[in-house]
């Protein structure tokens, strides 16, 4: 549904994004994760036809965003980061205006469609309020409603939960998850838990480059090379326990953490907890604690975007 190849954008001589390539399949929800100034907004603005790239190409719903910009725009619903809406217009008047601009018609169909999206985004009771008088949370919902009003195949949402309170964040996430059932969505965020909650696939961008792209779960695993266990064992010197744990099948690495604690890395997909417990008991040691550790995207993120070179791209001679 979305194909991006070698997208590059310079502001003056400064590159905001460089050689960004990715695909989004129909019906997929892609999380576009990166710290501030990583280039998320720039990428999305190119996809939505707001500005052209310096190099590379992007195709949305079969239309090149530069060559067939108008056609591509017809198939996209866009929620910009700023969510700037006309403050003097009422919610209903604004949505009807946007629907008409996007070619939803005739008038009766347009009215009906506006009522539908207002209900879906829970702004129906604010229909006659001027947008300028709404809270940030409601403005965000109106922004979402205008992105949906022409029933586009592709939704591009730039930091949809920024500036919302926790209850509103949950509502908006639920709505996006629900929209994900029948839309292709790209959602940008600098908040890790957001992708964990909403997206099937994650793409991490840092300083204008894609540093990782995979399904959420595989990405989490790939980075640490496997499953992690936290174990506390007493009853023998640390070296002996380390060596003993290393001898178990599937164990790749054992790292003593001090205070009888060890971090055990196992091959992906394995679960050796039962075997490990049995082994410790057989040895006559005492098992004090044993639990699986979840690597948060936070760690993945730090690992990928920290400035130390990764093994696969360390400069020669280091």
């Amino acid at each position: 549904m979305i194909t991006v190849r070698g997208l590059t954008k310079y502001y003056g001589s400064l590159p905001a994004i460089q050689d960004v390539s990715f695909d989004v399949a129909a019906g997929e929800v892609l999380g576009f994760l990166g710290p501030n100034a990583a280039g998320k907004t720039t990428t999305m603005r190119i996809l939505t036809g707001y500005m052209p790239p310096s190099a590379g190409k992007a195709v949305v719903a079969g239309y090149d965003v530069v060559e067939h910009s108008l056609e591509a725009r017809r198939h996209i619903g866009y929620l910009p980061e700023s969510v700037a809406l006309y403050p003097e217009m009422s919610v209903r008047a604004y949505l009807e205006f946007m629907a008409a601009l996007r070619g939803v018609g005739p008038a009766r169909r347009r009215k009906q469609r506006v009522d539908e999206v207002m209900a879906r985004c829970q702004v129906a009771h604010m229909a006659d309020r001027p947008i300028g008088k709404l809270s940030r949370g409601y403005r965000q919902r109106v922004g979402l409603a205008q992105a949906l009003v022409h029933d586009p195949e592709v939704l591009i949402l730039d930091e949809p939960t920024v500036g919302l309170d926790p209850a509103q964040i949950i509502e908006v996430r639920d709505l996006i998850r629900e929209l994900g059932r029948d839309h292709t969505i790209i959602l940008s965020t600098h908040i890790l838990s957001e992708v964990e909650h909403v997206c099937q696939r994650v793409m991490i961008i840092h300083e204008g480059r894609i540093v990782a792209e995979d399904t959420r779960d595989r990405l989490r695993a790939r980075l640490k090379g496997g499953e992690l266990l936290y174990v506390e064992v007493a009853g023998a010197p640390s070296e002996e326990i380390t060596a003993g744990l290393l001898s178990l099948p599937h164990v790749q690495d054992v790292r003593p953490l001090g205070d009888n604690a060890y971090q055990v890395t196992c091959t992906l997909g394995s679960d050796i907890r039962a075997g490990l417990a049995q082994f410790v008991v057989q040895k006559g040691w005492q098992l004090l604690e044993l639990r699986r550790e979840r690597i948060s995207l936070e760690e993945i993120f730090l690992q990928l975007t920290s400035d130390e070179p990764r093994p696969d791209q360390a400069p020669a001679g280091r």
Binding site: R45, P52, L70, Y86, F97, M98, L101, Q146
Partner: protein
Amino acid sequence: MRNAFLIARRELEAYFISPIAYVVTAAMLVVLGYFFSVILFVTRQASLRPLFGGSALIVLLFVLPLLTMRLLAEEQRSGTIELLVTAPVRDGEIILGKYLASLAFYLLMLVPTLYYPVVLEVFGRPDWGPILTTYLGIILLGGSLLGVGTLASALTSNQIVAAVLGVGMALLLWLIPSLAGFVSGPLADVLQYLGLSSHIADFAKGIIDTRHVVYHLSVIAASLFLATRILETRRWR
């Protein structure tokens, strides 16, 4: 074209709740009304020619850029332009829509001035031919000024800057013929033709000269074309 009308309608509705639009209307009516009364009192002629053929029209150079300053500058400042240009709408349709809204509002502003010819009709025997051509001239002059103002508004994201630019460009255009005195030959004629002020007086005399009509339409077309280009390139940076 349909999109341009949609945008124009939205923009026109915004004018009606904008205090600036009312202040601008009031300012124009006060200045023109003042000149109308004084001129009528002094000349005792049932004609609009002294009013609309002369310097009173300079008020338009100062008030019409206030009408257009918001059009694109405010969209660019607040960021609402982002959802407008990412809708399936051509940049030219956006500019045209904005311009048409200002033109429509200007036409509404002129409605109260119809009171002047009505007064003349009541108290004298005015010649209606020149009055009609005078209105055509005023509409064309305003059309040009609004075009220039729309261009100024596209150039910046600051309404005040847009207003100052608009007045500056309007004055420059108005004053070009005064340079003609410093040169001679065909260049003087060219300068004379390029000036906005050269293309208004004949209308008040009851003359419709196509050269004047073409001039105003060219100013409008050139302004809107440039404004469209600017809207495009402002995003390309």
